[in-house]
């Protein structure tokens, strides 16, 4: 592209008519008014090297604070000498996802199911300990690792439950349909924060006396139920988009309800509803932040708690910018993936 053509494109974009030009000027001034102080604060006047509060220059961001606190942002209060266990758990999940993505088509389903059986208990063992590993209580977990833990384990509850209730809502059996509708509408109608309170207060109350239930497990179960209701609606979309003839053909071939569902209907319906399910998963990651109200410190909770450190007074903006950027990167990447899935489907 030559210089003149680039210039003419920008002139066309920003100054096609006097009115467009005026709007552009106003917008550019507004942007400069916001962006210049922001860039000065975040980059030009910021402090990048040092180790204590005293190294921070006034007026700019102090990224030294993030560097000093990086371990806590990632692992919470997890014992420093045990953090390799979290790293291994993370690598295992990553390896599992990659192996499913790159496996040949005909192994994909079996591999996924095998990993779903093996990985979740392995992860819990690695993180909490026992059988040769030192115990790490869940109150020591925190930070980004906890955000991801809650997101993954709540979806492990939510996805199968959501599929069941989506099928239930489409069922011909009236009572099963009614129960599914009540379940879905109830959990979708109440705020998640109330559900987290409910799970943390009610679960120990309704279990037989003497059975203790970990407070992190309570939050995961509560979130899992809510997300199951939203997942059910996402899956229902896929079920409704599938032509009725598919099930009829399967039944005509003599397949039972469960065989027709498992072999013909669900694989296609889930593929259709995958983008919608991904969007629910993004919502779940954002909503894990609410465990803060029962004093479980996920990434945002750790950021909030770090503001109370007397050695690092006044680091509010740095903590928020850093944790916000991580949430944004994760959710943005997932939403782009979901959008690309949607596009692929339409072609």
């Amino acid at each position: 592209m030559t210089r003149t053509s680039a210039l003419s494109i920008w002139r066309e974009r920003l100054f096609a008519t006097p009115f467009t030009g005026f709007t552009s000027m106003v917008l550019v001034v507004l942007m400069a008014w916001i962006a210049i102080p922001l860039i000065r604060w975040a980059v030009i006047d910021a402090t990048w090297v040092g180790s204590t509060r005293a190294d921070c220059a006034p007026g700019g961001a102090c990224w030294v604070f993030i560097r000093a606190r990086f371990g806590q942002f990632m692992y919470g209060l997890y014992p420093v000498d045990q953090r390799w266990r979290v790293d291994i758990a993370g690598l295992l999940v990553l390896a599992g996802v990659l192996s499913v993505v790159f496996a040949p088509q005909r192994f994909k389903l079996n591999l996924t199911l095998a990993l779903l059986v093996v990985l979740p208990p392995l992860g819990i063992w690695l993180l909490s300990g026992g059988f040769g590993l030192a115990y790490v209580e869940t109150r020591e977990w925190g930070g980004l690792m906890l955000t991801l833990f809650i997101s993954i384990y709540s979806s492990l509850i939510a996805i199968p439950l959501g599929i069941l209730f989506a099928l239930g809502r489409q069922s011909e059996l009236r009572i099963i349909r009614l129960i599914s509708v009540i379940f879905i509408e109830f959990w979708r109608g109440v705020p998640i924060i109330a559900v987290i309170f409910l799970a943390s207060l009610l679960l120990p109350l309704i279990l037989p006396g003497g059975i203790g239930i970990d407070r992190l497990a309570r939050a995961v179960i509560g979130l899992g139920f809510v997300i199951a209701a939203y997942m059910a609606e996402a899956v229902r979309g896929g079920l409704q988009a599938l032509p009725k003839g598919q099930r009829e053909a399967a039944t005509a071939l003599g397949l039972s309800y469960w065989k027709a569902t498992g072999l013909i209907v669900l694989p296609q319906a889930l593929r259709i509803s995958l983008p919608a399910m991904t969007n629910e998963f993004i919502a779940l990651i954002k909503n894990t932040t609410l465990v803060l109200v029962v004093s479980i410190l996920d990434l945002l909770g750790i950021a909030q708690a770090s503001l109370a450190d007397p050695n690092w007074v006044g680091m509010n903006m740095e903590a928020y910018v850093f944790s916000g950027a991580i949430y944004w990167l994760i959710c943005f990447a997932l939403s782009r993936w979901s959008r690309s899935l949607e596009k692929k489907r339409r072609l």
Binding site: L27, L173, G189, V190, P191, A194, L207, L300, W328, C331
Partner: protein
């Protein structure tokens, strides 16, 4: 034997068997949980039942609309929470709709920079947790506002500082009741006029000057009524005494932060709904309308917007319900909504977990059902009529 086999192989019989088994399972689980709960409660010495509602609450609330004091009973406290939840929800829905429409239309603008900025805002807001916004506005923005002595004055009568927004309060609300009545009457008048205009158009094909009538009845009359009421009332204007403002009405910082977070967050979602709705109207429709000689403004109001509204109403309903539920995020910064007052303070004081949780969830389910009923009625009114 063969008749028994054919009996259990009958699809209807098996279907009923499964359903009854499911009901028995659910009933069994419920009985199991209820028995455990009652045993655990007896052990912990907690009484069950709703008698606790009439006990004196003793809980001080910093933001009250109902005239509650801490010597009132817990049921009155419950209503304080419900009113505070409703207040922030209604205001947030109105402001988020306005901002969301503005950003959604900016996103579709032919002005490249404007639509890029709108797109960046939407991408930014949608991928960050709402709780982040709530904490950010509260601990990041409001906490950074000046002390009361250096307040930011708004027209010399309202003052913004880190203790909230201090606004003038009318001494006697009498005139405002009359103004509210006048506004209600003029809106009813507009509704009747538009119904009459629609019927006349069906009969004769003539347009009524509905826009002028609408501006008069919806904007001018209420503005005059409010202006009259404001001038005819004595105002309690806040004045700086010592370290803080005295008099007037203080909107607490928790309310300001929660409202700002709900509005900025929800607007990003509403903007996408607006964009999707307008884009769903096929371009050919606009072209056909202009081929018929309709001016762009009339094309928009007669062809595009009515059809876009049809697509937008169901997802907008979902967003409004989300605002209602998300108003509970205020509990994280101790905004006294129904969750933090009732599920938090009252539950801590009384220990009546089951009753309090049931009542709190019921609030959301009932208000939510009312909102969706209202929006469904609206949806049915604007829905495509197929004959």
């Amino acid at each position: 034997m063969s008749s028994f086999l054919s009996f259990i192989n009958d699809k209807r019989v098996r279907d009923w068997f499964y359903q009854i088994a499911l009901i028995l399972l659910l009933v069994g689980l419920t009985v199991f949980f209820v028995r455990n709960a009652s045993e655990n409660m007896v052990k912990a010495g907690i009484a069950s039942g709703f008698d606790f509602l009439w006990r004196t609450s003793g809980i001080e609330v910093p933001f009250v609309l109902t005239g509650y004091t801490q010597s009132d009973d817990i049921f009155a406290l419950f209503w304080v929470g419900v009113a505070n939840t409703m207040l922030v929800t209604v205001i947030a829905i109105v402001l988020a709709t306005v901002l969301g429409f503005a950003i959604g239309i900016a996103r579709l603008s032919s002005h490249w920079l404007l639509s890029t900025i709108a797109g960046a805002y939407i991408e930014f807001v949608r991928n960050i947790p709402l709780l982040f916004f709530v904490l950010f506005w509260y601990f990041g923005v409001i906490a950074a506002l000046p002390q009361p002595r250096q307040s930011i004055g708004l027209f010399g009568v309202a003052f913004l500082n880190n203790r909230g927004l201090t606004m003038p309060l009318p001494d006697a609300p009498g005139n405002f009741r009359w103004a509210a009545l006048a506004i209600f009457a003029s809106w009813l008048g507009y509704w009747l006029a538009s119904a009459w205009a629609r019927r006349r158009k069906d009969r004769t094909g003539q347009d009524a000057p509905l826009l002028a009538i609408g501006i008069g009845l919806i904007v001018v009359v209420p503005a005059l009524a409010i202006a009259w009421a404001s001038l005819a009332t004595r105002w309690d204007i806040p004045v700086l005494r010592g370290f803080n403002y005295r008099g007037g009405f203080v909107v607490i910082p928790e309310f300001v932060a929660l409202l700002a977070a709900l509005v900025t967050y929800t607007a990003g979602f509403i903007a996408e709904i607006v964009r999707g709705g307008i884009e769903s109207v096929a371009r050919g429709q606009t072209e056909a309308a202009s081929a018929l000689g309709l001016r762009p403004g009339r094309t928009l109001s007669l062809v595009v917007i009515p059809q876009a509204l049809r697509v937008m109403t169901p997802p907008l309903t979902n967003q409004y319900l989300n605002v209602l539920k998300n108003s509970s995020f205020g509990a994280a910064i101790a905004y006294p909504d129904v969750v933090s007052l009732f599920m938090g303070s009252a539950l801590n004081n009384t220990g009546q977990a089951i009753e309090i949780i049931a009542m709190t969830l019921a609030v959301y389910l009932v208000i939510g059902l009312a909102v969706s009923a209202l929006m469904n009625w609206y949806n049915a009114r604007i829905a495509l009529v197929t004959r």
